[in-house]
């Protein structure tokens, strides 16, 4: 397709030149699948829509023509506004509407009866639409589907669910063309396979990436501290940069660090620069206020987290500051792209290492950005819990044939390699629960009709299945509000686990202010203002990101250098001292140090497997130490090492680290571990074994609901081969447990170097200052209860 004349003149009238990739999208408009990789600000979204606008303008028949899917609700509303300009100015007969969880039920009903030409929606809303019996009618005539920010969706189960939805759409609408819009990624062909209908090919268009970013480490007067996160030592230098730029985004890896940094930045902000904070735990009102102010250009800096990783032109950002190690080069590059949304101008970014080790990581990341060496863990196959949900949702839309559904599902990229046996197990789970015990005929959600097709046993169960659609399972959180007497304004949310540690009078930070915990009323945390007091730190969801394998490898490669001219002197000297006293970790060796310190024996394992895997390693090794009678007391983990302390010296660490022993310890550990139970809960909610805790439902009937831990324990005891446990084990290879990286580490190393020293080594020293020390459990819990019982009974004069 050529660019139609009205379009050419519209671009010309605005003084724009059409980008080559925008033209290329039109030329290849007929391709069954097309992946566009373009930097932010390259008119990527318009490039995606141009063929649709041209086709609808040429043939404005009613009915749905294009479905646009974005990971963010806010983005769909923005896109609708942005599309209005070309449509109105060119006078195109095109109707555009969005549909998300926020759309009114009247509008939803109308959209089902009379769909617009272009419907903008999210993966969850699409899944819901596809579960309706009239889905074939709603989507009749659909020609194109555009998946925006596909790189972000592909990193999560939302992407897997979406691709199952597209497989369904391709059945409903033969000839449907797929378009993916992506930021820079490390493996475009893998993303193309994810997008395309298997085994169709998918053409990849790569836009001019623009000039290389202008990126450096922020220079500060004080060197970074030995340990910890937050980067608060750099506040004066950061404030200075904010003053010298129009709008600065200051990214943090965790919400808690963002809160603490913002508070100190605010106190140091003597000139009163307009600055704000934005993260996912703040109330929607608070976030929208910040977004609007940013769009209006009235903010000079926003302290934020991944909540601003996506989204379109919000304001005129000309500097990105990343505080804390970037952990992942691809994400860093995408964040840098937030600065300067104008094409062909370099993005400007500064890195602020939070501690001495992160200096090394930042330098390694800077090298990787310059060499355009992006990282990313390869995507595993599509997970079973999402497939179970998809099967149930498909049944809501009407009876289906199992063979046809299997054929359809395997056209989705993530499920192209799905075995028939796995599919059957998921179908059996959806239909009967999939239990080894088959005594009961009531365990039937789906029933096979005489014609062989599967259908809901009770059509009324469709409602519950639809309520449960989606793959985002939130941590249980509680809303935080000012006490009604003081206005009752919503402030945001805190994790329930954090709320449970609060006692009236405790103070914590939220939305940049210190508040005082007053009471818990009907599942709402009521607080009052508490000016000027030191807060108890808010423990929001920590980062789940671990330093990528690629970046860890780069650091290990750097360690091989004879000297380190790229590193600041303080850091280079530190590494040289470590080499002199012990040795530096190497890629194909596992360095283990043992030394006494502060009256305890220590064992430090430099696995470089990322924080989550090092944490799991700590749990497994201490468990094996306990079994060996080595009396471990606790451990702490970072992205590169685990430090364990105990009463006895470990003389043969290799025995603790042999892979078979670790694997069998892992299997035992699966039985009782809290992280595993959380992993199970997430998969069980997605698969439809347990229903989501919807707001409002939690307040009532407390006795009726019970913990998912009980189901986990029951299955482990009575049905250890059950599909949900199999899925939980698969999930545990990645994510928070990340046993897969322990396996990879064990496969990588050719031998263990055990260094014994009389005292702490330079590289291990910062670990002594790390937060997040974990006591070794065992009988600890009952001992804690006993001690507390004696004290409290005495205090209450009951004993």
């Amino acid at each position: 397709m050529r660019m139609p004349d009205p379009f050419e003149s519209w671009f010309a009238a605005r003084g724009w030149t059409v980008h080559p990739h925008q033209r290329a999208m039109l030329e290849r408009a007929g391709a069954p699948a097309l992946l566009l990789i373009a930097p932010t600000g390259g008119g990527k979204t318009l490039a995606g829509f141009l063929p649709s606008l041209a086709e609808i303008a040429a043939n404005p028949a009613p009915g749905l023509h294009t479905l646009y899917i974005s990971p963010l609700k806010a983005l769909t509303a923005d896109i609708r506004r942005n599309l209005r300009t070309p449509i109105e100015e060119m006078g195109l007969p095109v109707r555009v509407e969005d549909r998300t969880g926020d759309t009114s039920s009247t509008a939803r009903r109308r959209q089902r009866a009379d769909p617009p030409h272009i419907l903008l929606t999210t993966p969850e809303s699409l899944a819901l639409l596809l579960s309706y019996e009239d889905a074939p009618r709603i989507f009749a005539g659909l020609k194109r589907v555009i998946v925006d920010e596909i790189h972000a969706l592909a990193d999560s189960k939302r992407g897997d669910q979406l691709m199952l939805g597209l497989a369904r759409l391709s059945t409903l609408c033969p000839g449907l063309r797929r378009v993916g819009l992506s930021a820079t990624v490390e493996d475009p062909p893998a993303l193309a396979r994810f997008l395309a209908r298997h085994p169709d090919s998918c053409e990849i268009l790569t836009a001019d990436p623009g000039p290389a970013p202008d990126i450096a480490m922020l220079e500060t007067d004080t060197p970074p501290p030995w340990a910890g996160g937050g980067g608060r030592y750099a506040i004066p230098a950061v404030l200075d940069q904010v003053a010298r730029h129009r709008t600065t985004l200051i990214f943090h890896n965790t919400r808690a660090q963002a809160e603490l940094f913002f508070r100190d930045l605010w106190m140091a902000n003597e000139t009163g620069l307009p600055i704000a904070i934005h993260h996912g735990s703040l109330s929607r009102e608070a976030r929208e206020k910040v977004e609007t102010a940013m769009a209006a250009g009235s903010l000079r800096a926003v302290v934020c987290t991944g909540s601003l990783d996506l989204g379109i032109d919000w304001g005129d950002v000309d500097l990105v500051i990343q505080v804390g190690a970037p952990k992942n080069v691809k994400r860093l590059v995408q964040r840098i792209g937030r600065a300067n949304h104008r094409y062909n101008a370099p993005s400007k970014a500064l890195l602020v290492p939070a501690n001495r080790f992160e200096v090394v990581e930042c330098v390694a990341a800077l090298q990787a950005v310059r060499e355009q060496d992006l990282d990313g863990e390869p995507r595993g196959p599509g997970p079973g819990d999402v497939l179970c949900q998809h099967i149930l949702a498909t049944a809501c839309a009407g009876p289906f044939d199992a063979g046809a559904l299997f054929a359809e599902v395997t056209t989705a990229g993530p499920y192209a390699g799905l075995t028939h046996a796995r599919f059957d197990a998921c179908l059996d789970f959806a239909a009967t629960g999939g239990y080894a015990l088959r005594a009961y005929d009531r365990w039937q959600r789906l029933k096979q009709a005489p014609d062989g097709r599967w259908a809901l046993r009770d059509p009324r169960s469709a409602r519950a299945i639809r309520m449960n659609l989606g793959t985002i399972v939130e941590e249980e959180t509680l809303k935080v509000r000012m006490k009604p007497a003081r206005g009752g304004a919503p402030l945001g949310e805190v994790e329930e686990a954090f709320a449970a540690t609060l006692t009236p009078g405790d103070t914590f930070l939220i939305g940049g202010q210190v508040v005082r915990y007053e009471s818990l009323r009907e599942m709402v945390v009521e607080v009052s203002r508490s000016p000027g007091r030191e807060p108890k730190i808010a423990v929001f969801a920590g980062t789940k990101f671990a330093t990528s394998t690629r970046l860890s490898d780069r650091i290990l490669t750097m360690f091989r250098q004879g000297d380190w001219p790229d590193l600041p002197a303080h850091t280079a000297e530190w590494l040289a001292l470590q080499r002199q006293v012990s040795r530096l970790p190497e890629r194909d060796r596992l360095l283990v140090e043992t030394f006494p310190q502060d009256g305890r024996q220590h064992l430090c394992i430099y696995g470089f497997a990322g924080r989550n895997a090092q944490q799991t390693l700590g749990l497994l090794v201490t468990q094996r130490m306990e079994a060996a009678g080595l009396a471990p007391l606790g451990f702490v983990s970072t992205d590169y090492a685990t430090l364990i302390w105990g009463l006895d010296e470990v003389t043969a660490p290799a025995d603790l680290l042999d892979s078979n022993g670790l694997r069998s310890a892992f299997d035992d550990w699966l039985a009782g571990n809290a992280v595993m139970k959380r992993t199970f809960r997430t998969s069980a909610v997605i698969a439809g074994l347990i229903e989501r805790n919807l707001p409002g439902r939690r307040k009532t009937g407390r006795q009726a609901t019970f913990s998912s831990d009980i189901l986990y324990d029951t299955l482990m005891k009575y049905d250890p081969g059950h599909l949900m446990l199999e899925i939980t084990r698969e999930e545990a290879m990645k994510g928070l447990v990340d046993f897969g990286r322990i396996e990879a580490m064990l496969a990588r190393v050719r031998g263990i170097d055990h260094i014994r020293r009389p005292r702490v080594t330079p590289l291990a020293a910062p670990l002594f200052l790390e937060a997040g020390r974990i006591p070794v459990k065992g009988a600890a819990e009952q001992r804690l209860i006993d001690a507390a019982a004696d004290r409290l009974m005495a205090e209450a004069e009951l004993a």
Binding site: T432, G433, Y435, L437, A439, Y440, R442, W443, Q444, R445, R457, D458, R460, S461, A464, E476, E496, A497, A499, A500, T501, T503, L520, M523, G688, L689, I690, E691, N693, R698, R702, Q703, A704, T705, F706, S707, I710, L711, T714, L715, K717, Y718, D719, H722, P775, A780, E781, Q782, L784, I785, D786, A788, A789, L792, M793, E795, A796, L798
Partner: protein, 234 residues
Amino acid sequence: MTAHHFTLSGAPLAALPSGALHWPAAGLLAVSDLHLGKSERLARRGGTLLPPYDTAETLARLESAIAATDARTVVCLGDSFDDDAAARALPQGAEDRLLRLMAGRRWIWIAGNHDPGPAGLPGTHLVELAQGPLTFRHIAEPGARGEVSGHYHPKARLTLGGRRIARPCFLLDAARVILPAFGAYTGGLPTDAPVLDGLMGPGALAVLTGPRATALPMRAGQGRAPRPLAGSGG
């Protein structure tokens, strides 16, 4: 034995770590809220298909509690079945197991709000049982004395050493004891729920179940430090 021993209206009782209440002098064991057939009821009603092992698990617990105490009388304090249909639909294996347990014992089914009608099983079906100084009923009545009840599934939530602990618990004061739910698939009501706060007297204790029965002040939180918390867990 790691039970918590106390006296109610002159009767010496033991709150067992399993959640059962033992009255040794009377050879009596009381359990509450077994909710047998819970997963069956949910499946029957078109809800989620939970693992169908709860009844077997609850019966196994009951077997070991009875074996450990050699009780001659067993009082089930109501909500023994998740509903009356669940009682009728008890699988043959489970019913046989239950009948073996009942054989040779005085067995009393107190009516609950989930299972009001006769369960169609042997044993004595009562709204409440008065024995010696004690009265056994499903739901506690304000002002009652020497009362043993269930219904509320009390659960204590503590934060100790930075760790959250949630355990089903007994609540007891001078006038009554409220038993935790004994069934496998049961949740809990936080001990600071207004209804429990209203029922229990000033010096009330929460006796936590677990490896051993541990007594704590029910309202430990009004002072400092650890206290039962309203939270979820759901």
